[in-house]
């Protein structure tokens, strides 16, 4: 089967299905509840009708400006094919009219952290973007200023027990997550702590352990999800937990377990949480035989004991 066949087949979906999807929505409010509040709502509607018009116009204008990116490549984030980090290039890009350039520049300028003299200048130039109508730009600018001014108050900066902090750049730039690199500031120095490789193209979540010494990091491709634990204090990393669990359970149940050359596991996770400072819990959907068999499991991994408990 070719990609084009799938694309064409989807585009040929029935009109009735398309029509239903056009009008589709989530579960509404129960009828009795609706009647009870309808008179109050009517009065409220009249009061806000004028305000709504103004709001609608503003929102439409804003929607048209919305920044939308699905996948950034290393070339994209360098704003060229050259890989050497040059602050001037990114400062120049801030002046561009293109929000994509501005967005990339703001994120990359965080890397100027180690140059304390330059930092002030960078902060000053990024600061106006905090008030940008473009939400992605505003959020990136807030994070950049927060980090460069060493405040570390952003929800996207994770504080650890050793007083270092970790974070990702290009936070949630895509539907799938953030850029697949972890950065760390320890003892006043910024360093790229870890780079994931394909298929872990996006970082979806960072969860700090209760003692602040470890972080669980979930990543994804657009097909599979993965989890690893970093013991920051001792510089250790766990095996990838979803694929490991898939192999352990598969062997136990006698399934034909093999690994794909692209390392996709076609498995997913949710409800991830630390039970205590050593044990990480999550639910996983594990797939076998090209997704013919799907197993839903609860999983606990003990980092120090290196033990998997799969139910």
């Amino acid at each position: 089967m070719k990609k084009e066949t799938i694309r064409e087949a989807v585009s040929l979906l029935e009109d009735n299905l398309i029509e239903e999807a056009i009008n589709s929505k989530g579960k509404g409010i129960a009828k009795h509840y609706f009647r009870k509040w309808v008179s109050v709502a009517a009065v409220f509607c009249i009061l806000i009708s004028f305000g709504s018009t103004v709001w609608a116009v503003t929102t439409l204008k804003k929607d048209n400006l919305e920044l939308y990116i699905r996948k950034l490549s290393p070339d994209n984030i360098n704003l060229s094919v050259e890989t050497e980090y040059k602050v001037d290039k990114f400062l120049e890009a801030l002046k561009s009219d293109d929000p994509y350039y501005q967005y990339i520049a703001i994120n990359r300028l965080i890397e100027s952290f180690n140059d304390t003299q330059l930092r002030e200048k960078v902060i000053k130039q990024i600061q106006p973007f905090i008030h940008s109508e473009e939400i992605e730009l505003a959020e990136a600018a807030s994070l950049a200023v927060d980090i460069l001014s060493e405040k570390y108050e952003s929800k996207n900066v994770y504080k650890l027990a050793d007083e270092s902090v970790v974070f990702t750049l290009f936070n949630h730039y895509s539907d799938y997550g953030s850029y697949n690199e972890i950065w760390r500031i320890a003892e006043g120095k910024l360093e790229k702590y870890f780079s994931f490789s394909n298929p872990s193209m996006y970082i979806t979540e960072i969860i700090v352990s209760p003692d602040g010494k470890k972080i669980a990091v979930t990543t994804s491709s657009n097909k599979s999800e993965y989890v690893v634990i970093f013991d920051i204090e001792n510089g250790r990393i766990s095996p990838e937990l979803v694929s490991s669990a898939r192999i352990i359970l598969g062997a136990k149940k006698g399934y034909d377990v093999f690994s794909r050359i692209d390392n996709e596991n076609y498995s997913g996770i949710n409800n991830i949480n630390w039970v205590d400072s050593d044990r990480l819990y999550f639910n996983a959907i594990l797939s076998y035989n090209d997704t013919e068999i799907i197993e839903e499991v609860s999983m606990e991994y003990n980092f120090d004991a290196k033990l998997f408990n799969i139910e």
């Binding site: 979906l13 009735n16 029509e19």
Partner: protein, 185 residues
Amino acid sequence: MDDNNIIDLFWERSEIAIKEIETKYGNLCKHVAMNILRSDEDAQECVNDTYLGAWNAIPPYRPKVLSAFLCRITRNLALKKYEYNRAKKRDVKMQLPIEELENCLLSASNIEEDYDAQYLAELIDDFLYTLTYEKRNVFIRRYWFFDSIVDISNRFQMSESKTKSMLFRTRNELAKYIRKEGYPI
């Protein structure tokens, strides 16, 4: 105005038909085009071309569902434009959500031969009718309309993680269904 009356206007070659579809479906078509192109200018161009496409197609064609007919034209035009932009590397946003589905179905594919898209479309239709209202429409909003996860979550009043998880399961169920029904993937 009722859709049938609008179609009648097309058949009468009345230009009021264009104004009526613009009023009634202009925003919808724009949304479809924006999801693919993410450029106001390009999207508006597609919408205008949609009106022209409808004008050229009706008559002789009489669409059963006007909204779907217009969205289909917009979607096709926008996808062509998207491919053009991508070939010219004008854009950094290189992936459409449909690739999630392609990757899932292709992952299970062992055979290099190609098969009939119409037959595969019928299987997908049949599969979608086996799903609940919510699952079906989340799937179509993602892979036909290319809505973002956030938009789908807002539309169906559920969390983003639930939306992702629902899509993930549905994709896998579809691969399983297609295999079971005999399409050789």
